[in-house]
Subunit: 335 residues, 2 copies
Amino acid sequence: MISNLVSRIRASVAQALPAGDGAVVLAVSGGADSMCLADAALAMHGDTPAFVIAHLNHQLRGAESDGDAQFVQAFAAQRGVPCEVGNVDGVALAASRKVSIEVAARDARYAFLAEVATKHGATRVALAHHADDQAETVLLRLLRGTGPAGLRGMQPTSPMHNAPQLIAVRPLLRITRSEIEQYCRACKLDWRHDTSNDALHHTRNRVRHELLPLLAQYNPNIRATLTRLADTLASDYEIVESATREMFDRIAIEENHTVKVDRKAWRALGAGLQRAMLREAVRRLKGDVTQLSYAAIEEAREVLNSDAGAGEIALMTDVRIDVRWRAFSIYILDF
Amino acid sequence: MISNLVSRIRASVAQALPAGDGAVVLAVSGGADSMCLADAALAMHGDTPAFVIAHLNHQLRGAESDGDAQFVQAFAAQRGVPCEVGNVDGVALAASRKVSIEVAARDARYAFLAEVATKHGATRVALAHHADDQAETVLLRLLRGTGPAGLRGMQPTSPMHNAPQLIAVRPLLRITRSEIEQYCRACKLDWRHDTSNDALHHTRNRVRHELLPLLAQYNPNIRATLTRLADTLASDYEIVESATREMFDRIAIEENHTVKVDRKAWRALGAGLQRAMLREAVRRLKGDVTQLSYAAIEEAREVLNSDAGAGEIALMTDVRIDVRWRAFSIYILDF
């Protein structure tokens, strides 16, 4: 049973980290999840990528934090893998940047991972986020009011937000925390208290310790339910994306920082594709749509679907729609 | 401000209930929501459908229940609208059918509404479900683990589950309970304690009184967040549905109670369309997909995506997939 679990986790990690281009940075805090990730990665056979272990000491827990760093270094040495350890004063950093400790620690960690990747010619950074993290992320985003795109949760691979030329890979996204601990015990892997939890966001902490236990009274499998929801939304989203791109090519043109849309053709679409087309236009013009509000889309749709002949709509502070009878043009104010 | 609200609600109701074919049954418990619905419907001008008010006395609260029925009858008489009042013994019905009181009451109510519709040649039944109900429904379905289709919540129009030839219309789905009470006060409409809440499902009650208040600590607008999620999922779902139908026509054929799919073409699809195609096949063969599990779809996908040459997959207890190299056929065992 347990050895099945070990092979399953190792297979997931191997599949997520094919030899491919360049080395892979393994982000290792020393907690059970990242020890499992590192062990499974280093157990790969045949044509594997080169690995380098990276550990950032946030110095949030004094001697214990130093102990974590030494623990990770010893593990890397024993496995014969290069290891980079960085140091930041998490508290001082938070104070000087005027942000919370969790934000300062996370930003410093991602900056450090990108640095290590550059130094070692790595193109990918493997992160130990697991299914329990995913369930919390989905729930947090649900509470915050993100749409279907956000409810897909963390993706198995995604560009790193602070260094988009690097790919973040999350091979453990479908493995639960309890399976990870079983793995560590079965493989006689030691682990340290996970320091990244020290700087856990207050809300995530409440979600983990208050909300999820309450939801489990309604549905004992709530974590699995939430990760499955993320999965199905991700696969539906993929369909929506490709239908949107297809429609975009059919009824819109992008040129000179402007997206021009055939208004009559757009009006014939259902609400779903109408919304998706406006989002897609903003995505092409600005690169991301996180600041585009649902309410603004709905207001724009109301005007565009009405008989209003000519006018201007503010879709975002710096994005306007020039409305005409036959077409409307979406453009950025800067240009 | 309030009179804006009154016109907005009346406009929603008028838009949801165009003159169209046949009369409209207004389901009126006597609570604020159904009184608002009835008043707004009866305030319609011009070319309106004929209305008939229907009230079922579940006899769950003795004299008070009788009072509700008299209240609704008096309202109908005052407005000059035909009114049908039915009587059932909710407790006895639950005991004889061996179901909970809430299930017995709900089933009896829907059966009665269908009866009234038939008697009066009505094709539509207007129900007073509002935005707060919708938020609870979305949350309940989320907890239960329904996929994106279920998370769309209640639809503005849908076939009645017990009488699919009738359309259930929900004109108040975007109006909150508090707006409905404002409407009633502004229009000097009296209302009774909502008897349908007496037979409220235990879990819905807990969601309303325990879970939603807790979630509101994380996000004060949690109800609006949930109803907006339902809206966006509904519009994305519409895109998924139409992309699925299009792909179905391209790579599948339905004949003799069998859906035959070009396996190579299916394998070239993303996970989203692969899942959607299997669901669509079952929907065409069986009429609904509520019993089709996510796990069964994933197991079938694994086999169909593998190099397995020939074999059989049980997709449901009565649905099989006959797997061949070039194609696979989905069929119902009965046939």
